[in-house]
Amino acid sequence: MTTPTDPFPRPGWITLRSRRPAVSFRLDRRAMTIIPLLLVALLLALIISTSQGEYDIPMLDVMRAAVGLETGNPNHALVVRDFRLPRILVALLIGAALGVSGGIIQGVTRNDLADPGLLGVNAGAGVLVVGYLTLVAAPDTTLLPWLALAGGLGAAAIIYGLTRRGGSSPVRLILLGVGLASLGAALINYFITRLEVDSAQRAFVWLTGSVYGSTWADVRLLLVWAGLLIPAAMLMSRQLNAMALGDAAAVGLGVRVEPYRAVLLAAAAGLAAITVTAAGTIAFVGLVAPHLARRLVGPAHEALLPAAALTGSLLLVVADLAARTVIAPTELPIGVTTALIGAPFFAWLLYKRGK
């Protein structure tokens, strides 16, 4: 841990400053090697994942098709650019959004068990989206991101309100989230019972989280929101670092805790909510990715948030590949693979806390 006013950076740290705009970043030296490595790994995963599927394409052809070069097989461009790339990029962006969202929530609540899904943020977003889709005769899909955002923020506000009075231990916070999430799930189920039978199975898959049939429109949507919210959150890394030391320490370091906490939580809820419009409720990524990132680059958020974004992306791209190929030609919803990884991970965390 370092204090932001430390005049003599320790050798393990690199400081980046700019007078105008007045921002400074202190990066763990490890981050300078780890983050590029993660980027390379992500790129590799992207290429491998795109080449695999019902119909394998050589990796070189994948790269050619992706940038618009001829591969000698007209199907390649179609499969790569219209079918596979959008869904894989959606998985990647969702991973990044959820990773950062989880990183922020874990920092703000000082709770290493926190995850946007477990706290009910995803369910809150889902309730409004599914409710709108079932109750309105001719739904306008451009409204969906805003509804998800409203639902996610609403859920976050409820959790925040419930935990403000009477303080809250990490475990209790999660239990409150579980209560909220099951309330949301019940409402979503209720809406789904009103759907036509055909839509019911799709809704069922959507509920577990799936990137099947994602389009470039989804990619653009995620890109815009993640592109706004992730950098915004990173600019608040210094405040996040201070808050992670506890409210008293943060106030002592000159951070206005309450407004920053509200803004950061809103950003985290927004990031999680937007993934819900694109792919349904995917749990556990926001829990796992920040933990992996912390192992790799340490607890300072300047490096932690980008690393969490990258590990989240990597996780989801791999989870998507597994979901598509393990029992091909049948495809698992991606939420299933992340839960199968995430739940044991959570159990391990619980075990470690007890020691």
Binding site: L183, L332, A343
Partner: protein, 346 residues
């Protein structure tokens, strides 16, 4: 700390029914209420049938009349199934709370329901369409495995199985198992068709076969649970106290677990994983009757049956001709109560 006064025995007035003589009367009143609710439940539905026809269908059955046939073959088994499910789950929750001393203990939250449901889904996947009692056995096996796993998981590390840790372990286990269930259902269209309404928790389309083959599990578990009343009351004072009073604590625990598994196995096999009955009802009952499990268990059984019957009837009526699954109705009531409880316990 306040919760201690309603949860563990304390001095002073801890129950609404003040005198011991009134306890059987209260139970009788509850049973009458239940009978009324059941009668209304049989009458209400997609087709409304007046109470006169209902009673005629029961005592002077005429298979030529369509309404009477509906009552005998559709409504009645469904209502009976609801009674069994509610009674089983609520009594199981009461016993779990008493034996573990954990106010959050209940079949749904500790993952027992999810484990039982998963075992049934696997059974349907592997065996196709097994005979009905096999569903019950599968559910019992699943419930047992889930209980052992969740308890082991929560006991890991320091501090042992605290209420919060136990609940968290149950929730995580449920999430994991429901991911596996989803994977199986996506994998296999046939299983999905057979079982998709069952996995949310529903009483729709339950017939006499299910009631007759799976009901006995619940009834047997309930009988065992009622017999154990005095022992559970002593054990709820704490294992040390119970031992000091000469109780074979291990034996009580094993028998209680058996009762819970019988009831949950039967109930889940009938209706799928219905949550929150086992959590909410015993708490409400404790406010009425205090801390004596000779009364808590029977009151919980009646209360659970009443809650499920009312919720199922409401679910059928609110948006006719469609219906809201019972699992959804109960979560809408139970989840807020769970949040309230979590905020109150230590």
């Amino acid at each position: 700390m306040e919760s201690q006064s309603t949860f563990a025995p304390g001095g002073g007035k801890t129950r609404l029914i003040g005198s011991a003589a009134m306890l059987p009367v209260g139970l009788l009143v509850a049973l009458l209420l239940l009978a009324l609710a059941a009668a209304v439940a049989v009458g209400l539905g997609a087709a409304e049938i007046d109470l006169g026809t209902v009673s005629r269908a029961l005592v002077a059955y005429d298979s030529g009349q369509i309404e009477q046939v509906i009552i005998r073959t559709v409504r009645l088994p469904r209502v009976v199934a609801g009674l069994l499910v509610g009674a089983g789950l609520a009594a199981a929750g009461a016993i779990m709370q008493g034996v573990t001393g954990n106010p959050l203990a209940s079949p749904g939250l500790l993952g027992i329901n999810a484990g039982a449901a998963f075992a049934v889904v696997v059974g349907v996947y592997v065996l196709g369409a097994p005979p009905l009692p096999v569903y019950g056995l599968l559910a019992m096996i699943g419930a047992t495995v889930a209980g052992v796993l969740v308890y082991a998981l929560a006991s890991l590390g320091r501090g042992g199985a605290s209420p919060a840790k136990l609940t968290l372990a149950g929730v995580i286990f449920s999430l994991f198992v429901s991911a596996l269930t989803t994977a199986l259902l996506v994998l296999d269209q046939n299983t999905f068709d057979q079982i998709r309404f069952w996995t949310v928790g529903s009483l729709a389309g339950r017939d006499w076969g299910m009631v007759l083959w799976l009901g006995p599990f619940v009834v047997a578990g309930l009988a065992l649970g009622l017999l154990l009343g005095p022992q559970i009351t002593t054990l709820s004072l704490g294992a040390d106290v119970a031992r000091g009073l000469g109780q074979q604590v291990g034996r009580t625990r094993v028998l209680s677990a058996a009762a819970v598994i019988l009831m949950v196995g039967g109930a889940v096999a009938i209706a799928g994983p219905v949550g929150f009955v086992g959590l909410v009802v015993p708490h409400a009952v404790r406010v009425l009757v205090g801390y004596d499990y000779r009364w808590i268990t029977p009151y919980s059984a009646v209360g659970g049956a009443l809650l499920v019957t009312v919720a199922d009837t409401a679910g059928r009526v609110v948006q006719r001709p469609q219906e809201v699954p019972i699992g959804v109705m109960l979560a809408l009531v139970g989840a807020p109560y769970f949040i309230y409880l979590v905020r109150r316990i230590r």
